[in-house]
């Protein structure tokens, strides 16, 4: 059937009996969850979520793969990615130096849209499946080329245990401890 309008009407305001009945019904539901609560709260940092591989989290550069095309810096909608010029040893001509450009990221600005990862023609950038790192100062959030190539450590992995959420018909989301650690 194609989409259609369904006109409905409110239930009429009931009398005393209706009122008492619906009050009791509300109480029963309340008591049900008081006795058997279905909690999905994440006890961060004692627990931390393991996201699926497609999660758009922190970004890492594979410098050897990068062809310096600057597409990532051009596509960035918040100007978080910038190209820097470095002088490095030329792998093709030993002993000689060459100038090359590589991207660096500024996490003060990044909105994790993932455009840069999607636009890179050689897959030199990839996402990590997490998002929870804090920096001590704003300056630290502007990664250097070295830092941009390292997968950052997730501090919560030291103190917490990983959990995954699963869909469940009776409780919505169910939190489960992930087997085998991180």
């Amino acid at each position: 059937m194609p989409p259609r309008v369904a006109v409905k009407n409110l239930k009429k305001g009931g009398g005393l009996f209706e009122g008492v009945k619906s009050n009791i019904e509300a109480l029963i539901v309340g008591i049900k969850y008081f006795v058997d609560p279905k909690r999905m709260t994440l006890l961060y940092p004692k627990e931390y979520p393991e996201h699926r591989p497609g999660y758009r989290g922190f970004i890492v550069l594979k410098k050897d793969v990068c062809i310096s095309c600057a597409a990532c810096a051009r596509v960035c909608p918040s100007a978080a990615m910038k190209m820097v010029r470095v002088t490095e040893a030329d792998p093709r001509e030993p002993g000689k130096a060459r100038q090359k450009q590589y991207p660096v990221i500024n996490y003060q600005r990044c909105i994790f849209c993932g455009y840069c990862v999607d636009v890179c023609p050689v897959e030199a950038l990839y996402h990590l499946p997490f998002h929870d790192i804090t920096y001590e100062s704003l300056a630290d959030m502007f990664l250097t080329l070295e830092a941009f190539q390292k997968e950052p450590l997730r501090p919560v992995e030291k103190e917490g245990s990983p959990v995954v959420y699963e869909f469940d018909e009776s409780a919505g989301l169910v939190k489960r401890e992930k087997k085998g650690g991180a």
Binding site: V5, A6, L10, S22, A26, V75, F167, G172, L173
Partner: protein
């Protein structure tokens, strides 16, 4: 204490100057830091307990999005405009992309359309549950708040699995979407749908049929059908007053005309009716999600972007798409030029009709992007409907129109 005419006469005779005061009203400022008002202020003038005048003071989160859009390339506008209604990001960015597609004369593949509809409906539910939670806490019903925000998480999790992020999806690109759904997605979606269906009955018991809540909402903030049309309000607020208008029905976009769903309309026009419209819409959205995943499961052969675009992808990109479902962007898409012209597009977002006017001068950036958001149109309710009610009715009316300040301010 009032002074009798006689006394006034005596005082005047003694040479005392007596002036009658204008009637005094009590003025209160709700917001902008008020926990219930969001990023806005309502200046309310009270006569005792009765509101004589309510003035919504908007603009606290105005971010000049329309102007900013003129300074960035076409695909970079999406991450910008989705930030006006971050809880409904899929629905509010879709008409922008639709308008750009109209200018480029591009049609998304059917699979992409179904994926868009799927995410839009997941988003609609999440957005309604968010509004519902806030509404609950406005009325002092903190259980509804916890439930709404908890169950919203179920749908955000679905959206995260589909797009890679909870809220700012940036999912649409001209001609398609950025990712296909994972293999196990239909299964998870169906479980979430079945859960929410059963859960709705409990929502009714603890909140919607709860006599305390009903007495706060029934016959409060009544907007008649003619009045609703006059005020130009949209969305569930309009349908709660009996007007049969839903963009998905009146001007179908994507694949909505092929789906089987109802557009719930209530005639009463009070706060209760508006709340119920939203709750009924959640049920319908659940149906749509089921239909969409069924279709997507059966028709796997099509790419999630327009065929001609897919053909043009390099081999590495195609392989990656086959393997991960991710569609790579081409560097040429960054500075893509859109043929000159004007286009409009509209969609039914969680709070009502959202309208875009997009104009191109043939360059790499839009010449003009005009957005009319549902909240910007519904804010008039504060001015025109709230006066005459008691102060305690203000949160009930506010919550029932599900007003979202950042969306109105853009």
């Amino acid at each position: 204490m009032s002074i009798s005419e006689g006394t006034i006469g005596e005082l005047r005779a003694k040479g005392v100057e007596v002036k009658r005061l204008e009637r005094e009203y009590y003025e209160i400022f709700i917001g902008p830091q008020h926990p219930g008002s969001g990023h806005m202020r309502i200046i309310v003038r009270l006569d005792g307990d009765i509101i004589v005048d309510a003035d919504p003071d908007i603009g606290y989160v105005h971010r000049t999005m329309e102007k900013l859009s003129e300074g960035r390339e076409w695909i970079k506008v999406t991450p910008l405009v989705e930030r006006m209604t971050i809880i409904d990001a899929c629905n509010v960015t879709l008409p922008y992309i639709n308008a750009v597609e109209k200018l480029m004369d591009k049609r998304p593949s059917t699979r992409a359309s179904y994926l868009r509809v799927l995410l839009c409906e997941i988003n609609r539910i999440a957005s309604h549950l968010y509004g519902f939670g806030i509404f609950g806490v406005f009325l002092g019903h903190s259980t509804a708040y916890m439930w709404g925000f908890g169950d919203r998480e179920v749908f955000l999790e679905l959206a995260e699995i589909l797009t890679g992020t909870r809220l700012t999806y940036t999912y649409h690109i001209p001609g398609g979407v950025r990712r296909d759904m994972p293999q196990d997605f239909p299964q998870m979606a169906r479980r979430a749908v079945r859960y929410m269906r059963n859960r709705m009955a409990e929502y009714e018991k603890i909140f919607l049929n709860n006599p305390v809540i009903v007495s706060r909402l029934r016959d409060v903030g009544v907007i008649s059908k003619t009045r609703a049309a006059e005020l130009g309000i949209v969305g569930p607020t309009l349908r709660g007053s009996g007007v049969r208008y839903d963009v998905r029905l009146n001007e179908p976009y994507e694949v909505y005309s092929e789906l089987d769903f109802e557009v719930p309309v209530f005639e009463e026009g009070d706060a209760l009716a508006r709340t119920l419209v939203r709750m009924e819409e959640i049920k319908q959205s659940l149906n749509i999600i089921e239909q969409a995943v069924d279709w997507l499961e059966k028709h796997r052969d099509e790419p999630v972007i327009a065929k001609e675009d897919y053909e043009k992808l390099p081999k590495l990109h195609k392989e990656l798409y086959e393997k991960t479902g991710r569609v790579k962007l081409l560097p040429t898409q960054i500075s893509m030029k859109v043929p000159p012209g004007k286009a409009v597009a509209r969609a039914e977002a969680g709070r009502g009709e959202i309208f875009y006017y997009v104009e191109s001068d043939g360059g790499v950036m839009p010449y003009r992007v005009r957005v009319v958001t549902p909240s910007a149109r519904n804010v008039i309710v504060f001015k025109k409907v709230v006066p005459g009610h008691r102060l305690m009715d203000l949160p009930a009316i506010y919550g029932s129109i599900d007003y979202f300040p950042p969306e109105a301010d853009r």
